[in-house]
Protein backbone atom coordinates (compact mmCIF):
# COMPACT_ATOMS: atom_id res chain seq x y z
CA UNK A 1 0.00 0.00 0.00
CA UNK A 2 1.12 3.44 -0.80
CA UNK A 3 0.56 4.96 2.68
CA UNK A 4 2.55 2.35 4.57
CA UNK A 5 5.78 3.32 2.97
CA UNK A 6 7.09 6.70 4.09
CA UNK A 7 8.29 9.05 1.52
CA UNK A 8 12.11 9.01 1.71
CA UNK A 9 12.32 12.82 1.72
CA UNK A 10 10.04 12.97 4.74
CA UNK A 11 11.96 10.24 6.52
CA UNK A 12 15.16 12.16 6.17
CA UNK A 13 13.67 15.59 6.93
CA UNK A 14 14.69 17.21 10.24
CA UNK A 15 13.42 20.36 11.88
CA UNK A 16 15.83 23.17 11.61
CA UNK A 17 15.95 24.25 15.26
CA UNK A 18 17.42 27.62 16.22
CA UNK A 19 20.80 27.47 17.84
CA UNK A 20 19.51 29.16 21.00
CA UNK A 21 20.13 26.71 23.91
CA UNK A 22 17.05 28.08 25.83
CA UNK A 23 14.71 27.37 22.94
CA UNK A 24 13.18 24.19 24.45
CA UNK A 25 12.59 25.71 27.88
CA UNK A 26 11.11 28.83 26.25
CA UNK A 27 8.64 26.69 24.31
CA UNK A 28 7.58 24.79 27.45
CA UNK A 29 7.24 28.04 29.35
CA UNK A 30 5.00 29.42 26.60
CA UNK A 31 2.82 26.27 26.77
CA UNK A 32 2.60 26.50 30.57
CA UNK A 33 1.62 30.18 30.33
CA UNK A 34 -1.18 29.41 27.86
CA UNK A 35 -2.45 26.65 30.17
CA UNK A 36 -2.41 28.97 33.15
CA UNK A 37 -4.51 31.62 31.43
CA UNK A 38 -7.56 29.34 31.09
CA UNK A 39 -10.19 30.23 33.78
CA UNK A 40 -10.38 26.71 35.21
CA UNK A 41 -6.63 26.54 35.65
CA UNK A 42 -6.53 29.97 37.18
CA UNK A 43 -9.26 28.96 39.66
CA UNK A 44 -7.39 25.78 40.50
CA UNK A 45 -4.22 27.76 41.06
CA UNK A 46 -5.97 30.21 43.34
CA UNK A 47 -7.60 27.41 45.33
CA UNK A 48 -4.31 25.57 45.60
CA UNK A 49 -2.58 28.70 46.83
CA UNK A 50 -5.32 29.51 49.31
CA UNK A 51 -5.25 26.06 50.81
CA UNK A 52 -1.52 25.76 51.27
CA UNK A 53 -1.36 25.29 55.08
CA UNK A 54 1.38 27.92 55.34
CA UNK A 55 -0.86 30.52 53.65
CA UNK A 56 -4.30 29.30 54.73
CA UNK A 57 -4.09 30.53 58.34
CA UNK A 58 -2.90 34.08 57.50
CA UNK A 59 -5.42 34.27 54.60
CA UNK A 60 -8.27 33.19 56.89
CA UNK A 61 -7.18 35.66 59.57
CA UNK A 62 -7.06 38.51 57.08
CA UNK A 63 -10.45 37.51 55.64
CA UNK A 64 -12.02 37.41 59.12
CA UNK A 65 -10.51 40.78 60.00
CA UNK A 66 -11.66 42.38 56.74
CA UNK A 67 -15.18 40.95 57.11
CA UNK A 68 -15.38 42.06 60.75
CA UNK A 69 -14.19 45.60 59.96
CA UNK A 70 -16.40 45.86 56.87
CA UNK A 71 -19.51 44.72 58.74
CA UNK A 72 -18.71 47.04 61.66
CA UNK A 73 -18.25 50.09 59.45
CA UNK A 74 -21.36 49.28 57.40
CA UNK A 75 -23.40 48.71 60.56
CA UNK A 76 -22.17 51.86 62.29
CA UNK A 77 -22.87 54.00 59.24
CA UNK A 78 -26.40 52.65 58.79
CA UNK A 79 -27.05 52.87 62.52
CA UNK A 80 -26.12 56.56 62.64
CA UNK A 81 -28.18 57.25 59.53
CA UNK A 82 -31.20 55.48 61.04
CA UNK A 83 -30.94 57.47 64.30
CA UNK A 84 -30.57 60.69 62.33
CA UNK A 85 -33.73 59.87 60.35
CA UNK A 86 -35.62 59.07 63.55
CA UNK A 87 -34.62 62.51 64.84
CA UNK A 88 -36.19 64.07 61.75
CA UNK A 89 -39.28 61.88 62.20
CA UNK A 90 -39.60 63.13 65.79
CA UNK A 91 -39.33 66.77 64.69
CA UNK A 92 -42.06 66.20 62.09
CA UNK A 93 -44.22 64.22 64.51
CA UNK A 94 -44.61 67.13 66.92
CA UNK A 95 -45.20 69.71 64.19
CA UNK A 96 -48.74 70.10 62.76
CA UNK A 97 -47.38 71.97 59.73
CA UNK A 98 -45.25 68.95 58.78
CA UNK A 99 -48.41 66.82 58.82
CA UNK A 100 -50.15 69.10 56.33
CA UNK A 101 -48.90 67.29 53.23
CA UNK A 102 -50.10 63.88 54.43
CA UNK A 103 -53.53 65.13 55.59
CA UNK A 104 -54.08 67.29 52.54
CA UNK A 105 -53.40 64.35 50.20
CA UNK A 106 -55.71 62.08 52.22
CA UNK A 107 -58.47 64.73 52.09
CA UNK A 108 -58.15 65.13 48.34
CA UNK A 109 -58.44 61.34 47.98
CA UNK A 110 -61.97 61.40 49.51
Amino acid sequence: MKDEKPIPELEEWKIDLPEDPHFHSAVWREIAMRDATSPANRLRDILDHLLIPRLAIPAASVAILVVFLGASLHGLRNREKAWENLGLVYSSAIDPISHTGAISSSLSDH
Binding site: R44, L47, D48, L50, L51, A60, A63, I64, V67, F68, G70, A71, S72, H74, G75, L76, N78, R79, A82, W83, L86, G87, L88, V89, Y90, S91, A93, I94, D95, P96, I97, S98, H99, T100, I103, S104, L107
Partner: protein
Protein backbone atom coordinates in the same frame (compact mmCIF):
# COMPACT_ATOMS: atom_id res chain seq x y z
CA UNK B 1 -10.10 20.50 42.93
CA UNK B 2 -13.67 19.67 44.12
CA UNK B 3 -12.51 19.26 47.72
CA UNK B 4 -10.74 22.62 47.60
CA UNK B 5 -13.82 24.21 46.08
CA UNK B 6 -15.99 22.84 48.91
CA UNK B 7 -13.58 24.12 51.56
CA UNK B 8 -13.48 27.60 50.00
CA UNK B 9 -17.29 27.70 49.56
CA UNK B 10 -17.82 26.74 53.21
CA UNK B 11 -15.34 29.40 54.29
CA UNK B 12 -17.19 32.01 52.23
CA UNK B 13 -20.50 30.94 53.77
CA UNK B 14 -18.99 31.23 57.25
CA UNK B 15 -17.60 34.68 56.42
CA UNK B 16 -21.05 35.77 55.17
CA UNK B 17 -22.58 34.58 58.45
CA UNK B 18 -19.90 36.49 60.35
CA UNK B 19 -20.72 39.63 58.35
CA UNK B 20 -24.45 39.27 59.04
CA UNK B 21 -23.85 38.56 62.71
CA UNK B 22 -21.59 41.56 63.29
CA UNK B 23 -23.94 43.84 61.32
CA UNK B 24 -27.00 42.68 63.30
CA UNK B 25 -25.12 43.04 66.60
CA UNK B 26 -24.14 46.64 65.80
CA UNK B 27 -27.57 47.69 64.52
CA UNK B 28 -29.53 45.78 67.21
CA UNK B 29 -30.55 48.94 69.12
CA UNK B 30 -31.90 50.65 65.99
CA UNK B 31 -33.80 47.51 65.01
CA UNK B 32 -35.33 47.35 68.50
CA UNK B 33 -36.27 51.05 68.30
CA UNK B 34 -37.93 50.55 64.92
CA UNK B 35 -40.12 47.78 66.33
CA UNK B 36 -41.36 49.90 69.25
CA UNK B 37 -44.67 51.83 69.23
CA UNK B 38 -42.96 55.18 68.86
CA UNK B 39 -39.54 54.78 67.22
CA UNK B 40 -39.07 58.55 67.22
CA UNK B 41 -39.38 58.61 71.01
CA UNK B 42 -36.68 55.95 71.23
CA UNK B 43 -34.47 58.44 69.39
CA UNK B 44 -35.36 61.05 72.00
CA UNK B 45 -34.55 58.63 74.82
CA UNK B 46 -31.16 57.83 73.34
CA UNK B 47 -30.25 61.36 72.23
CA UNK B 48 -31.11 63.03 75.56
CA UNK B 49 -30.30 60.09 77.84
CA UNK B 50 -33.77 59.94 79.36
CA UNK B 51 -34.46 57.81 82.41
CA UNK B 52 -37.43 55.42 82.34
CA UNK B 53 -39.47 57.88 84.44
CA UNK B 54 -38.69 60.81 82.14
CA UNK B 55 -39.43 58.66 79.12
CA UNK B 56 -42.88 57.54 80.27
CA UNK B 57 -43.80 61.13 81.19
CA UNK B 58 -42.69 62.39 77.77
CA UNK B 59 -44.47 59.55 76.04
CA UNK B 60 -47.75 60.55 77.72
CA UNK B 61 -47.20 64.18 76.62
CA UNK B 62 -46.39 62.99 73.11
CA UNK B 63 -49.63 60.99 72.85
CA UNK B 64 -51.70 63.94 74.09
CA UNK B 65 -49.92 66.35 71.77
CA UNK B 66 -50.48 64.00 68.83
CA UNK B 67 -54.28 64.48 69.12
CA UNK B 68 -53.94 68.29 69.28
CA UNK B 69 -51.43 68.19 66.45
CA UNK B 70 -53.78 66.32 64.12
CA UNK B 71 -56.67 68.72 64.82
CA UNK B 72 -54.50 71.77 64.18
CA UNK B 73 -53.21 70.19 61.04
CA UNK B 74 -56.71 69.49 59.75
CA UNK B 75 -57.69 73.14 60.37
CA UNK B 76 -54.53 74.28 58.62
CA UNK B 77 -55.35 72.16 55.58
CA UNK B 78 -58.86 73.63 55.51
CA UNK B 79 -57.56 77.23 55.61
CA UNK B 80 -54.97 76.31 52.98
CA UNK B 81 -57.69 74.97 50.69
CA UNK B 82 -59.77 78.13 51.25
CA UNK B 83 -56.79 80.28 50.33
CA UNK B 84 -56.12 78.19 47.25
CA UNK B 85 -59.72 78.44 46.13
CA UNK B 86 -59.91 82.22 46.74
CA UNK B 87 -56.65 82.78 44.85
CA UNK B 88 -57.84 80.73 41.89
CA UNK B 89 -61.15 82.62 41.67
CA UNK B 90 -59.79 86.16 42.26
CA UNK B 91 -57.61 87.53 39.47
CA UNK B 92 -56.33 90.37 41.71
CA UNK B 93 -55.55 90.91 45.37
CA UNK B 94 -58.82 91.61 47.16
CA UNK B 95 -60.29 91.69 50.66
CA UNK B 96 -61.28 88.03 50.35
CA UNK B 97 -57.74 87.04 49.37
CA UNK B 98 -56.31 89.08 52.26
CA UNK B 99 -58.75 87.53 54.71
CA UNK B 100 -58.03 84.00 53.52
CA UNK B 101 -54.30 84.70 53.72
CA UNK B 102 -54.67 86.12 57.23
CA UNK B 103 -56.70 83.08 58.32
CA UNK B 104 -54.05 80.73 56.93
CA UNK B 105 -51.24 82.70 58.61
CA UNK B 106 -53.12 82.73 61.94
CA UNK B 107 -53.57 78.97 61.73
CA UNK B 108 -49.89 78.44 60.95
CA UNK B 109 -49.03 80.56 63.98
CA UNK B 110 -51.35 78.47 66.13
CA UNK B 111 -49.54 75.36 64.91
CA UNK B 112 -46.13 76.84 65.66
CA UNK B 113 -47.28 77.95 69.11
CA UNK B 114 -48.57 74.44 69.84
CA UNK B 115 -45.22 72.97 68.78
CA UNK B 116 -43.30 75.43 70.92
CA UNK B 117 -45.58 74.83 73.86
CA UNK B 118 -45.07 71.06 73.55
CA UNK B 119 -41.33 71.61 73.17
CA UNK B 120 -41.19 73.54 76.47
CA UNK B 121 -43.37 70.96 78.17
CA UNK B 122 -41.07 68.12 77.09
CA UNK B 123 -37.90 70.02 77.91
CA UNK B 124 -39.17 70.73 81.43
CA UNK B 125 -38.89 67.00 82.14
CA UNK B 126 -35.28 66.81 80.95
CA UNK B 127 -32.05 67.74 82.70
CA UNK B 128 -30.95 71.34 82.07
CA UNK B 129 -28.22 70.69 79.50
CA UNK B 130 -30.32 68.11 77.63
CA UNK B 131 -33.32 70.47 77.70
CA UNK B 132 -31.28 73.28 76.20
CA UNK B 133 -29.91 70.99 73.45
CA UNK B 134 -33.41 69.69 72.77
CA UNK B 135 -34.91 73.16 72.35
CA UNK B 136 -32.08 74.19 70.06
CA UNK B 137 -32.55 71.07 67.93
CA UNK B 138 -36.31 71.55 67.61
CA UNK B 139 -35.85 75.20 66.82
CA UNK B 140 -33.35 74.40 64.07
CA UNK B 141 -35.58 71.76 62.53
CA UNK B 142 -38.93 73.47 62.73
CA UNK B 143 -38.80 77.15 63.35
CA UNK B 144 -35.82 78.36 61.34
CA UNK B 145 -37.26 79.27 57.95
CA UNK B 146 -33.95 79.72 56.07
CA UNK B 147 -34.07 76.68 53.83
CA UNK B 148 -33.08 77.11 50.21
CA UNK B 149 -33.93 74.29 47.82
CA UNK B 150 -31.30 73.71 45.18
CA UNK B 151 -29.94 71.00 42.91
CA UNK B 152 -26.35 69.94 43.48
CA UNK B 153 -23.69 69.23 40.85
CA UNK B 154 -24.59 65.52 40.90
CA UNK B 155 -28.23 66.35 40.17
CA UNK B 156 -29.34 65.55 43.72
CA UNK B 157 -32.01 67.69 45.39
CA UNK B 158 -30.99 69.43 48.62
CA UNK B 159 -32.52 71.83 51.06
CA UNK B 160 -29.64 73.94 52.14
CA UNK B 161 -29.97 75.62 55.51
CA UNK B 162 -29.21 79.30 55.09
CA UNK B 163 -27.83 80.23 58.50
CA UNK B 164 -27.82 83.98 58.00
CA UNK B 165 -31.53 83.98 57.10
CA UNK B 166 -32.43 82.78 60.57
CA UNK B 167 -32.78 84.94 63.63
CA UNK B 168 -30.23 84.37 66.37
CA UNK B 169 -31.38 80.93 67.47
CA UNK B 170 -29.00 80.38 70.37
CA UNK B 171 -30.09 83.29 72.50
CA UNK B 172 -33.74 84.01 71.90
CA UNK B 173 -35.35 80.79 73.07
CA UNK B 174 -33.02 80.11 75.94
CA UNK B 175 -33.45 83.60 77.31
CA UNK B 176 -37.23 83.16 77.22
CA UNK B 177 -36.89 80.00 79.21
CA UNK B 178 -34.86 81.59 82.01
Amino acid sequence: MVKNLVIVSLSLALLSCLYGGVYSWITADTARAMQSDYPELEWLRREYELSDGQFSEIRKMHEEHDIVCRELCRDLVATQKDLESVISTHPQISTEVQEALAAWTRQRNRCREATLSHMYEVSSVMKDDAASRYRESIFRHLIVPGKMPHIGKNGEFHEELIEHAAPDSSGSLNSDDD
